[in-house]
C-alpha cells in the first residue's frame, strides 16, 4: 500500500543549528505513528514541515501524495491538526466551532449540519451544543477538538500532545477515538509525553538531537534495547552515556505496571 | 547584597539586555527632538547667498557682515554684475541674493532711505519666504542700530517686530518643552507599567510576591532604574534643545532638575497605577499609550494651544500632569523665572504624585487576583 507520509532526508536548519537532521521514514494508511522525543529534539519542527507550515532546508517530504514544499495548500486540505495549545475557539459555542471548521474546509451547509448531528451524538454532547467551548471540561474539549479535526475527512491527522493534563479516564476515551479513526483508515501521527501511550501506537519513532534514532514497533524496540518498557527505551536513547541505574527507591514509575 | 539592590541590579540587567527597549529608551527622545526640530519647523541655517555690492562702502559692508554673521546665511559668492544673478540661481548653488545699489551709503546718509534688493529662489517658496523674512529682519535690526549710534530720531519703530521676527524659533521654544514632557511621561509611565506587567505575564510575579520582598520594595526596585534613565533622557532633551536648537536656559539649573524629578515621580506613580490594573504587557501598553500619550500630546497645549480649546477640554486638560509641567519648564528655560511664579504648578504636581502613589499603593495587590 502506498505510504501517506514519506520523507527523504528531510532537514531543517536555523543558522548553524540543525533542528531536524535528514530524517527518512514512511507512514502507512491507517497507521498510528508515535512521534516521541525530548523537548527540543526536533519534533515540533518536523511536524511543522509535514503540515506545510515550514519550508524544509533540504530533503523531501510527501504528505497525502503531495510535496510539502511545492504544494503546501494541497497538503493542508488533506490533513487535520490538533494541538493541546490551540484547537477550538473558547468564546464560540460547540455548534459554532463545528460550523466554523466545516466552513473553512469548504464543507456544504447540509453536510455540516449532518456531521454536527453525528458528532454531537458520538461525543454525547447534544445537551452542550450551544454552550461555549470555554465552559467545557478540558477532556471534553480535547475530544471535541479531535472530532472537529476529523470533520473534513482528512487522510492524516497530526495530534500534538493531545492528552497532556487530561484525567486517566478521558485519556483512554481519547485513545478509543484514535483507535476508531485508525480503524476507518485515517493515519494518525501522535506526539505524547505519556510513555504508556507510546505502547498504543503501531510504530514509534524517537527523535534525539534532530535525528530519528529509533523507528519500530514498540515490541521490537523493547527487544532491541532489551528494555522492560518504552520508558527505558526512551531513556537509553536520550541519555546514551548514562548507565541505567535502578536503585531501590525508584519504583516502577518508569516500568510498565505489569511488572 | 541587600534585597533591594539585588532587585535594582536585576532590573538594570533586563533593560540593558533588551536592545529594543534600550533603543526606545534612548533613541526615541533623540529622534523625536530632531524630528520636531528639523521636519516640523522650517528654520533654515547656513543658506547659500550671493552678494552683489557695487558700492562697497562702510554701510553696505557693515550690513553684509551682519547678514553673514547671523548664522542663517553663508556667502557662496560675490557677484560683479546683475548678469551673473540668473546663472547663479539656475546653478542651484544659491538660495538668495542681496543686491546693493551703487551708492548705498550715500543714499542712506542723504535721503534717510536706501533701496536694497533681496532676491529669493521661489522654486522652493517656503524656504525663500523664510530666508527673505530673516534677511528683512536683520536689515531692520541693522538699521535700528545705525539709527541709535547716529543719535538721529528713529524713522521707524522696529522694536515690536524684532522679538517676533523668527516665528519658527517660537516653535522651537514650544516643542522642546513639549517633547520633554512627553518623553518623560512615556519612559516613566509606559516602561514601568510594562515591566511590572511582564512579571505578571511570565509568572515571576508569583514568586516575588511569595518572597519576603515588600510591595514597596518591588515598586521602588522596578521604578528606580527608570528614574535614572528618565533623568538621563531629560538631560539629553535639554542639551539637544540648547545646543542644536538654541534654546536658552535662563533660570536655575537646580530648579529645573528638581522639577523634572517631581514630574518623573508623577509619571512613575501613574505607571504603577496602570500596572495595578493591567495584567499583560499589551494591556499596559494600550493603557499607557492611549491613556497618557494622547492627552499629553493633545490636551496639554503641546501641539494645540489650550486657549483655543473648548472649555470642557481645557478642564479635562487640567488633570493631565503635562499641562502643569509645560509652563514650568518653559518658565525656567525661556523666561528664567523661579518658584515665586511656578509655586502653584509645582504644588499641583506634588499633589498629583502623592495622590497616584497613594491609590497605587492601595491597589497594589500582594496577592493574586
Amino acid at each position: 500500500m502506498q505510504a501517506v507520509i514519506q520523507t527523504d532526508r528531510l532537514t531543517k536548519t536555523f543558522g548553524h543549528f540543525t533542528a531536524v537532521d535528514a530524517i527518512s521514514f514512511e507512514v502507512a494508511p491507517g497507521e498510528i505513528f508515535g512521534f516521541l522525543g525530548a523537548n527540543g529534539a526536533g519534533k515540533t519542527t518536523a511536524l511543522k514541515m509535514l503540515t506545510g507550515l515550514l519550508k524544509p532546508s533540504q530533503g523531501k517530504a510527501f504528505v497525502a501524495g503531495y510535496d510539502v514544499e511545492r504544494y503546501p495548500e494541497e497538503v493542508k486540505r488533506r490533513i487535520g491538526y490538533m494541538s493541546q495549545r490551540f484547537s477550538l475557539y473558547e468564546d464560540l459555542t460547540v455548534r459554532e466551532n463545528i460550523r466554523f471548521y466545516g466552513g473553512i474546509y469548504g464543507l456544504s451547509t447540509p453536510d455540516i449540519r449532518r456531521k454536527t448531528g453525528l458528532l454531537l451524538d458520538k461525543l454525547q454532547l447534544g445537551a452542550q451544543a450551544d454552550a461555549l467551548v470555554g465552559s467545557l471540561p478540558l477532556g471534553w474539549k480535547q475530544k471535541l477538538a479531535f472530532s472537529v479535526a476529523l470533520l473534513h475527512e482528512p487522510r492524516i491527522v497530526f495530534l500534538d500532545e493531545p492528552t497532556s493534563g487530561v484525567d486517566p479516564l478521558t485519556r483512554r476515551q481519547f485513545w478509543d477515538l484514535i483507535y476508531e479513526a485508525a480503524h476507518q483508515g485515517v493515519t494518525l501521527m501522535v506526539t505524547t509525553h505519556y510513555m504508556d501511550e507510546s505502547e498504543y501506537c503501531d510504530r514509534v519513532s524517537i527523535m534525539v538531537d534532530g535525528r530519528m534514532d529509533a523507528l519500530d514497533t514498540p515490541g521490537n524496540l523493547k527487544k532491541h534495547f532489551s528494555a522492560a518498557d518504552m520508558d527505558e527505551v526512551f531513556r537509553r536513547l536520550a541519555r546514551p552515556d548514562e548507565p541505567v541505574v535502578r536503585d531501590g527507591h525508584v519504583p516502577h514509575i518508569f516500568k510498565s505496571p505489569e511488572e | 547584597m541587600s534585597r533591594f539592590s539585588a532587585f535594582v541590579k536585576k532590573e538594570f540587567r533586563h533593560i540593558l539586555r533588551d536592545r529594543r527597549t534600550l533603543m526606545i529608551l534612548f533613541g526615541m527622545p533623540v529622534v523625536q527632538v530632531l524630528l520636531f526640530g528639523f521636519v516640523l519647523t522650517n528654520e533654515i541655517k547656513n543658506a547659500a547667498v550671493a552678494i552683489l555690492d557695487p558700492s562697497k562702502d562702510v554701510s553696505s559692508i557693515s550690513l553684509t557682515n551682519q547678514l553673514l554673521s547671523s548664522g542663517y546665511f553663508r556667502l557662496e559668492r560675490n557677484l560683479s554684475s546683475t548678469e551673473e544673478l540668473e546663472p547663479a540661481f539656475r546653478s542651484g548653488k544659491i538660495k538668495m541674493a542681496v543686491v546693493f545699489p551703487p551708492d548705498f551709503a550715500q543714499q542712506l546718509a542723504h535721503e534717510g532711505k536706501a533701496q536694497l534688493q533681496l532676491i529669493g529662489d521661489a522654486s522652493d517658496p517656503n524656504a525663500a519666504t523664510t530666508l527673505i523674512n530673516y534677511a528683512n529682519a536683520i536689515v531692520l535690526d541693522w538699521q535700528a542700530a545705525q539709527n541709535r549710534s547716529a543719535a538721529v530720531p528713529p524713522l521707524r519703530i522696529e522694536a515690536q517686530t524684532r522679538m517676533l521676527y523668527n516665528p519658527e524659533q517660537k516653535a522651537v521654544f514650544n516643542f522642546v518643552p513639549g517633547v520633554m514632557t512627553l518623553i518623560l511621561m512615556l519612559i516613566s509611565a509606559m516602561m514601568t507599567s510594562i515591566t511590572l506587567a511582564r512579571e505578571k505575564e511570565m509568572g515571576t510575579m508569583e514568586v516575588l510576591l511569595v518572597s519576603p520582598l515588600r510591595p514597596i520594595q518591588i515598586i521602588l526596585g522596578k521604578t528606580a532604574p527608570y528614574l535614572v534613565l528618565s533623568f538621563v533622557n531629560a538631560l539629553i532633551v535639554v542639551l539637544l534643545g540648547m545646543f542644536v536648537f538654541g534654546m536658552p536656559l535662563r533660570g536655575s539649573v537646580l530648579l529645573l532638575a528638581g522639577e523634572c524629578f517631581l514630574y518623573m515621580f508623577v509619571s512613575l506613580s501613574l505607571g504603577i497605577f496602570i500596572s495595578t490594573r493591567a495584567n499583560t504587557q499589551i494591556a499596559a501598553l494600550f493603557m499607557s499609550g492611549l491613556g497618557l500619550m494622547m492627552p499629553t500630546m493633545l490636551l496639554s497645549g503641546f501641539i494645540f494651544p489650550r486657549e483655543s480649546m473648548p472649555m470642557a477640554l481645557q478642564v479635562i486638560g487640567n488633570i493631565v500632569p503635562a499641562t502643569w509641567f509645560n509652563p514650568i519648564i518653559k518658565g525656567i528655560m525661556i523666561k528664567g523665572v523661579g518658584l515665586e511664579t511656578l509655586w502653584l504648578n509645582t504644588l499641583v504636581l506634588g499633589f498629583m504624585a502623592l495622590f497616584f502613589i497613594a491609590i497605587s499603593m492601595r491597589n497594589f495587590k500582594d496577592r493574586l487576583a
Binding site: 478540558l138 509525553h193 518508569f254 505489569e258 | 534585597r3 540587567r13 511570565m202
Partner: protein, 302 residues
C-alpha cells in the same frame, strides 16, 4: 507533626467551584503528592497555601502559620515553584539563582549544600540565559531557586509539565534526596505514575479529594479483580472485553488492557476462552495489581 493542614477549604471563581471543602494534612518531612488532571483545583490549592489567594471559607496552616493572617512571616519559610517555571528568561542561570537568593536574604554559598547535587547538573550552563535552557534544565534551575533560602515547606505545582520523561525521573530522584534535609514537599502532578514516588498522595478531581493515603494502600483498596490482557488487535480486544458479561470496565494500560471484573466468579480461563471464541490471536491473560490510574478511573466511574 503536621506541616500543612487544611480544614474545609473552599474557593470559587464566579460560578466555578474550584475547591470544595478540602481537608488534608501533610506530615513534616514527607513528600505529599496531589494527583489530578488539569482543572482539578491543584493550582488553586497551591496558591492559597502559598499566601497568594484567599480562600472563600475554611482555613489552613502552613509551617505553623496561617496563610491568611501570618502571610508575611510565612513567605520567608516557603519555597514555591509555580506551574510555569518562573525564571527570568533574559538572565543567566547564575544570575537567576543569585537574584532569588538575595531576595530571600540568603546567598548561593550559604545554602549551597542543599542545592549542590542539583546545581552541579546545570553548572556547565551557568552563563547561559534561562530562556535558552531545555525544559529539564529550566525545571532544575527553578527548583534550585525555590530551595536557595532553605525553606521549611516546598510547594511544587506541576514541576513535570513540559519536561521529558527522563528529566522527570531525575527530578524525582532529587526530590527524594531532599528528604534528608527535613523539608516538607507538597507536589502536584497530572502524571499518575509519579504518585508511586510520593510518601502519601491525595487524588483530586473537580475540586474534591477522592482519597488520601499511601500509594500502596490506595492501590490495595481497589475493589475488584483486575486482569492484564494482551492480544494482537488491541482495538478489537478492548471492545470485546467491554462486552464480556460481568466486566466492569476495560482500558488500555501500556501494552496490555486492564479488565476490571464485577463478577468475581470469572477466572483467567473464562476470559481466555471468551477471547479465543472471538478469534483473538496471541491471547495472554494474567492477574495484575491495580495501578494508581486504575484507582483513579475507578473513582471517576463512581
Amino acid at each position: 507533626m503536621s506541616s500543612i493542614t487544611t480544614t474545609n477549604l473552599s474557593k470559587a471563581y464566579g460560578e466555578v467551584q474550584a475547591l470544595k471543602n478540602i481537608n488534608l494534612s501533610v506530615r513534616e518531612g514527607e513528600i505529599f503528592g496531589l494527583i489530578g488532571p488539569d482543572g482539578a483545583g491543584k493550582t488553586t490549592l497551591f496558591r492559597i497555601l502559598a499566601t497568594l489567594l484567599l480562600p472563600d471559607s475554611g482555613s489552613a496552616r502552613v509551617a505553623g502559620l496561617d496563610p491568611v493572617g501570618d502571610y508575611k512571616k510565612l513567605r520567608t519559610k516557603l519555597g514555591y515553584m509555580p506551574g510555569r517555571f518562573s525564571l527570568y528568561q533574559d538572565l543567566t542561570v547564575r544570575e537567576n539563582l543569585e537574584f532569588f537568593a538575595s531576595v530571600f536574604g540568603s546567598s548561593i554559598e550559604e545554602n549551597y549544600e542543599l542545592i549542590r547535587e542539583i546545581y552541579v547538573q546545570i553548572e556547565p550552563f551557568r552563563d547561559r540565559r534561562a530562556g535558552a535552557l531545555s525544559g529539564g534544565m529550566k525545571q532544575k534551575l527553578a527548583l534550585c531557586c525555590a530551595l536557595i533560602h532553605k525553606p521549611e515547606v516546598l510547594l511544587l505545582d506541576e514541576p513535570g509539565t513540559g519536561v521529558d520523561p527522563v528529566s522527570r525521573q531525575e527530578f524525582w530522584d532529587m526530590l527524594r534526596r531532599l528528604r534528608q534535609w527535613g523539608i516538607t514537599i507538597l507536589v502536584s502532578t497530572p502524571y499518575m505514575d509519579e504518585a508511586e514516588l510520593c510518601d502519601r498522595i491525595a487524588l483530586i478531581q473537580q475540586g474534591e479529594i477522592l482519597t488520601i493515603d499511601t500509594p500502596e494502600k490506595v492501590r490495595a483498596a481497589y475493589p475488584r479483580p483486575l486482569f492484564a490482557v494482551r492480544a494482537d488487535d488491541m482495538y478489537r480486544l478492548i471492545r470485546d472485553l467491554r462486552e464480556l458479561p460481568g466486566a466492569a470496565g476495560c482500558y488500555a494500560f501500556g501494552e496490555s488492557a486492564h479488565l476490571s471484573l464485577r463478577d468475581t466468579a470469572i477466572g483467567l480461563d473464562d476470559v481466555r476462552r471468551y477471547l479465543i471464541e472471538r478469534r483473538h490471536e496471541a491471547v495472554e491473560v494474567s492477574p495484575t495489581p491495580a495501578t494508581i490510574e486504575d484507582c483513579f478511573i475507578e473513582f471517576l466511574n463512581h
